[in-house]
Amino acid sequence: MAHAHKLEILRGLVKFKSNTQKIWGVLVLLSIVTAVEVVLGIYKPEALMAKVLGMKILNWIFIILTIVKAYYITWDFMHMRDETKALRRMVVWTAVFLICYLIFILLQEGGYIEGVYSTGFVKRDF
């Protein structure tokens, strides 16, 4: 495994000559994504404030870009790309399933409690 790195990212769109080169390439990619996030975070364009599926488009963009970054850190820095399919699935599917489940339950419950507060059953403004 040690000497058999897969050197393509973005589904073969970018191919690197050596592993070192790939590392710098991924750094550039991560830096661009972070820069985009920061710029959007500072200027907060009005056009992205509309809500889609209960959340602002801007926040959806942030979350998607975060997952993109997480993908490249795991796949290229942690060499997940070079591991066997079985190991990859054991780690990734387990975590993704449990995290999605946890987030769904807690956010659902948080939203419900917010509803109880805001429909006047509990007074907080005093």
Binding site: N19, T20, N59, F62, I73, F77, I99, L106, G110, I113
Partner: protein
């Protein structure tokens, strides 16, 4: 000398334990499974943060207004800049780490040493930055008044700019001094008393026509609601209970105390991971210098701590998003 069992005598015996379906060593697999469990711990914290935030979605602090400071640029409002810098430092140290792993595969000892060194430096800069971030957050900048219901009232001028308590409140002479163990009941003590009392804040607000109260409620423009002059005075007189300067686990001048609790807990837990990562990196760094892995003919240990280090970076990417961006 070598306490690790390298050969078990089962090589090639498919049904005798000689089969390696994952093609990864025991240590590396265990590091991966540890990372999965640690990832679940962090998701537990971040999901709990999401829960509390959804619960108080109408009054949650806006991160851009909380984290606005950059070292050496005093008094300027620069949201996001410093935390972007911290993120970049951590990504950079991840890069040097993966370069160390890469050099390890090629058995280049000098390169591994230098890249490990740079990784450690990056980690230390990050932990230092986080300490500074905490100190700034704890100290606070404008001050606020907490109501009986636990809500936070902040002060703005008529243009909507924040006004610090010290700009319009005059501290009068007070006879009340902080109770310490040495001059009273030895088994109780209290923290530092706020600089101002609520009465002094009321006087200050009455004598400054251009100061208004800003509540935590977020209006339809995504901004905090500013009360009118009459409402401001009424709200402060009826409900003001405690002057809050800075943030701790009980009170928080930026808004909901839960925000401060989660900030301390999540970034603290992450900072602890970075700290322990730096310690482990230092140990491995010295092993590299001593030539341990040269003799072992494998730099896999560097790869294993590398996994941990990248994981710390991975977690920060999420903390960054959910604390500072969303």
């Amino acid at each position: 000398m070598n306490t690790t069992v390298v050969n078990t005598g089962t090589e090639g015996k498919t049904w005798g334990g000689g089969n390696e379906p994952l093609k990864a060593s025991y240590g590396k697999m265990m590091m991966w499974f540890f990372i999965v469990s640690d990832a679940l711990t962090f998701s537990g914290f971040l999901a709990a943060y999401g829960f509390s935030r959804f619960k108080f979605i109408e009054s949650w602090p806006i991160a851009d207004e909380v984290f606005t400071h950059v070292p050496f640029l005093h008094g300027q409002e620069l949201p996001m800049i410093y935390v972007a810098f911290m993120t970049f430092i951590l990504i950079m140290s991840s890069v040097t780490m993966v370069l160390a792993v890469d050099a390890g595969h090629k058995m280049q000892k000098t390169k591994v040493t230098w890249y490990m060194f740079l990784t450690i430096i990056g980690g230390l800069i990050f932990v230092g930055s986080q300490a500074w971030e905490w100190a700034t957050f704890i100290k606070g900048d404008y001050g606020a008044v907490q109501t009986k219901g636990g809500n936070i009232l902040q002060f703005v001028d008529t243009d909507g700019h924040r006004v610090a308590l010290s700009d319009f409140v005059v501290a009068e002479h007070k006879d009340r001094t902080a109770h310490e163990r040495k001059n009273g009941l030895w088994f109780v003590d209290e923290g530092t008393l706020p600089t101002y009392t609520v009465d002094e804040v009321i006087h200050g607000l009455e004598s400054h026509e251009n100061v208004l109260v800003r509540t935590q409620m977020i209006n339809e423009h995504g901004e905090k609601t500013v009360l009118s002059r009459e409402e401001s005075l009424k709200q402060l007189k009826d409900n003001g209970k405690l002057v809050v300067e800075g943030a701790n686990l009980h009170v928080n001048e930026y808004g909901s105390p839960l925000f401060a609790d989660f900030f301390f807990f999540i970034t603290g837990f992450h900072g602890f991971h970075v700290f322990s990562g730096v310690v482990i990196n230092i140990i491995i760094f010295f092993n590299v210098i001593l030539g341990t892995y040269e003799r072992r003919k494998s730099y896999e240990m560097v790869e294993k701590v590398g996994l941990y280090w990248h994981f710390v970076d991975l977690v920060w990417v999420f903390v960054f998003t959910f604390f500072y961006l969303v």
